[in-house]
Symmetry: C2
Subunit: 528 residues, 2 copies
């Protein structure tokens, strides 16, 4: 694939070029195979011709519907392009983005810059830079600006595994946020922690209440107190309404997966037996639980305009399912290829989902599961359900989800190695391995993973969680039981039609140019 | 939609034009918006320019891979076009076919002409022209050439409702046939009928055996003897192997549909309850039974190279499900829009499925079902299952099946009125109503029903009947329970992309012509 073919928006009008100490230029931005060109289209006016190979890094931000791309060049020049239209900006940015090192694709500092362009109420804290405050957190986390690192340390001591409340998602539309944490260590004595209370209250607008979504049933949460855990009591967190939304975890999920795979592989020809076994596996019931809880979190944020704190026990399993799915529902950016990679990186890899333990074995290993649980697979299944219900709203297709499932369990890349950022750093994973994202973001892979029907949909999407709406994910669970040749064919046919479209469009452009040229050229006198 | 847009194959080389008393012309056939043109592309050679509006009727035949189109003109001229390539022939024919009166679209005489082009072993019998031999048969039926009308009358007296064995399908690939009938009236005394035996034996190749597929369990077939019915005993039909493949019928199917629709409409949010109710409805089990029996019939014909006779009790329900589905599997022609219309017309409407009785009420009517049974809906569901498994092999999409379901139960057209051809004739249905096919075959309707991913697939297609492979038909059963907006969107997007493709292709052609014109008009300097 040529670079030129990656250019989604070859031309945008009304772009403003800003450079330090130089006057701004407004004009038309053109992307060619080798250059980024900005021309005011006026005689004698300056034009910018920038070789793609001169681009060292780019950043993008949004101010309302205005997109800004900061281009940092290898010759040390820094320029800013103001691009009207979010989609144009995203297309331009993704076209000139340097094929990147996946290990640096989703750095917290870059993600935080996006946040900073929307609000100044948050800061990046380095309190965990040595992984001693919370071993499963990354070195940098976003927290309310008014809360200092000492308060974070105190809150960490009050939360299971040191997982104090951190920012998971900022809802641009209304400024509401989603935080995640682990359970508070109230114990049977009802221990409290002023810093923890202050921390999460700092996310509330004056006079507003927030929601704590506890992913355990109320009795399970009660029982946790005996082991030193607990939940946010109304007495100590009067501004928060607690909702218990039970989501199944670890051993139960692993058993469910084993039963499901057994059912799928069974050769019996009885429809009743198949449906009974499918039901008995409870897998779809778990899909429903998780999706329902995610919809609840999204509803609190988008419809109730309330901030949300999500946690269960440890905050590394069901919590991440809920926070990441809620973002898929709320944030169109998470439905792009790159946005979804960022989401997986942020909410799973960096957030400390213990991939090494959870994905050590899958459905066939005989032994009793210890830490294994298909938490991430269940999340991917839920994404598939939403994708199936909104087939035009995702830039990626099912193949991308299947691929992530495969790599989470077994991969030649380093992305899913280890249980946490600290473990990966200790093992020098970024130095010794290649990131899955580096590989995936090459044009030839991207092409295979994209959804030919994608049409950017800027809205919140509400999936149906009625049992009738949820289906078995054939692409994973029946993949080896039936020939998928004919189904793949349909996808290939779609891809082919779309590619043919593009080729025809190019042909039309070429012929138009030839025609224009012929028409303007003066007929020459006949030579004898 | 312009006529020009209906032209699928605008140009075919190597076409031979044959006319009485004139030399044949070989050349290139071109279809334009107004003309059919055949040009030998040699100077002074004759060209044929035929206005589409001059075409009165067309017929097509196949001799191996050579297609023949007989064009009968309003000026009384008759010409024949020999077209190399089956697909080209079908496309050319369907492009110039006159928008037709649905009541005459699938006349037995025309269907029989296709058969005659392949074999001369069959004849059209008028024995039932007064509907007195078999009230549920049409006036014309295809039977083995060596069996005369008296023998047919004798066989009719020996079969339930007079439904003597008639031709359902001829498998071009190996010359095997599928026949259908009602049960033989052997009774408890083991009555026999030499003419019946002779009739079906006439379909066997010398030394070959055939299969009788009885759609009842063996004990049900045994019990039928007490009521005067029965089955083909081995003693009297030594050349036939009988297979009992139980398929559920009438009351049981109606109950199943009612339970299924109840389950689909239930507002309970429990996944277990939904799956239990889905299982308890047994609908998918019935889908599986029917598909399995159809696959068996298709296998006997295609893989065992044996002729097949299908019947149950009356031969108007499960028998038709099996014979029509087997044709979908075996015959690529049945997977086109027109071919499928022809199949429904032949194997359901003409074959005497009692639509009036079966589709009088659907799932919500409180009363105890008497003759109601969703036999046709179950057939459509099975077609949907195959379509889902072979998404590129059908010229039509799901919408066509949903539409047929709707019209079978309630329609402003006459096609599904009455229980038989005789009943429709008596009520003057063809004179008093419009055929559904007339309406459907208008370009604007066709466009809505076609599958944008269709790629003609000339092979036999074997659907998987594993329980894991069969899904609930959401398009019918969950249609009113959830918004289909987002799913329709994907279909529309595909249609849009394909239409855009076509527009671009036209644009390319136009620009090319303009370019060629400019280049010839204006001498230009040679460009290197």
């Amino acid at each position: 694939m040529e670079f030129a073919e990656l250019i989604k928006t070859p031309r945008v009008d009304g772009v403003v070029l800003r450079r330090p100490f130089l006057p701004t230029v407004e004009g038309t931005l053109c992307l060619t195979g080798h250059h980024l060109i900005l021309s005011s289209r006026q005689d004698n006016a300056e034009e910018l011709w920038l070789l793609h190979s001169n681009i060292d890094s780019i950043e993008k931000r949004f101010v309302g519907s205005l997109g800004q791309i900061i281009v940092k060049c290898k010759d040390l020049r820094v320029i800013q392009l103001d691009i009207p239209g979010m989609e144009e900006c995203i297309n331009i940015a993704s076209s000139i983005e340097v094929v990147d090192d996946g290990w640096n694709s989703f750095r917290p500092r870059d993600v935080f810059k996006d946040l900073e362009s929307m609000t100044d109420e948050w800061r990046l804290s380095e309190v965990n830079k040595d992984s001693d405050v919370c071993p499963s957190y990354p070195p940098l986390v976003a927290v309310p600006k008014g809360v200092d690192d000492d308060a974070l340390r105190a809150a960490a001591a009050f939360r299971h595994g040191g997982r104090f409340p951190v920012l998971s998602y900022y809802h641009k539309k209304n400024g509401m946020v989603m935080m995640r944490a682990a359970q508070p260590l109230t114990g049977t004595n009802g221990r409290r922690c002023k810093e923890d209370e202050k921390l999460i209250n700092a996310t509330l607008r004056p006079g507003k209440r927030g929601y704590v979504i506890d992913t355990r049933a109320i009795n399970v949460a009660q029982q946790a107190k005996a082991k030193g855990g607990g939940f946010e009591s109304e007495a100590n967190y009067p501004q928060w309404r607690r909702i218990h939304k039970a989501v199944e975890r670890s051993g139960v999920l692993q058993e469910s997966l084993i039963k499901l795979v057994e059912a799928c592989n069974e050769q019996s020809h009885s429809m009743d037996r198949w449906l009974s076994k499918l039901e008995a596996s409870s897998w779809l019931a778990h899909v429903k639980e998780v999706l329902t809880a995610a919809c609840l979190a999204a509803q609190c944020i988008d419809r109730e305009a309330a901030s949300v704190l999500v946690h269960g026990t440890e905050g590394v399993d069901s919590t991440l399912q809920i926070t990441s799915l809620a973002q898929i529902i709320l944030d169109p950016g998470c439905r792009t290829v790159r946005g979804f990679q960022g989401l997986v990186e942020r909410e799973w890899v960096q957030a400390g989902h213990p991939f090494r333990q959870r994905c050590a074995q899958s459905a066939y290993s005989g032994g009793k599961p210890r830490h294994e649980a298909p938490v991430f697979l269940l999340f991917l299944d839920c994404v598939w359900q939403i994708l199936r219900q909104f087939p035009c709203s995702f830039q990626f297709g099912e193949a991308f989800l299947v691929l992530l499932f495969e790599h989470a369990y077994s991969s030649q890349f380093g992305t899913f190695l280890g249980n946490s950022a600290a473990e990966r750093a200790k093992l020098s994973v970024p130095e010794k391995t290649v990131s899955l994202w580096s590989w995936l973001n090459r044009p030839q892979e991207l092409e295979r993973l994209t959804n030919p029907l994608y049409e950017a949909n800027g809205l919140v999407i509400w999936p149906s969680v009625a049992p009738q709406s949820l289906l078995l994910w054939e692409g994973v669970f029946l993949r080896w039981n039936r020939s998928s040749e004919r189904l793949d064919e349909a996808h290939e046919e779609m891809v082919h039609i779309v590619a043919y479209n593009k080729a025809l469009q190019n042909r039309v452009n070429l012929l138009r140019r030839q025609l224009a040229q012929l028409e303007t050229e003066e007929p020459l006198p006949q030579t004898p």
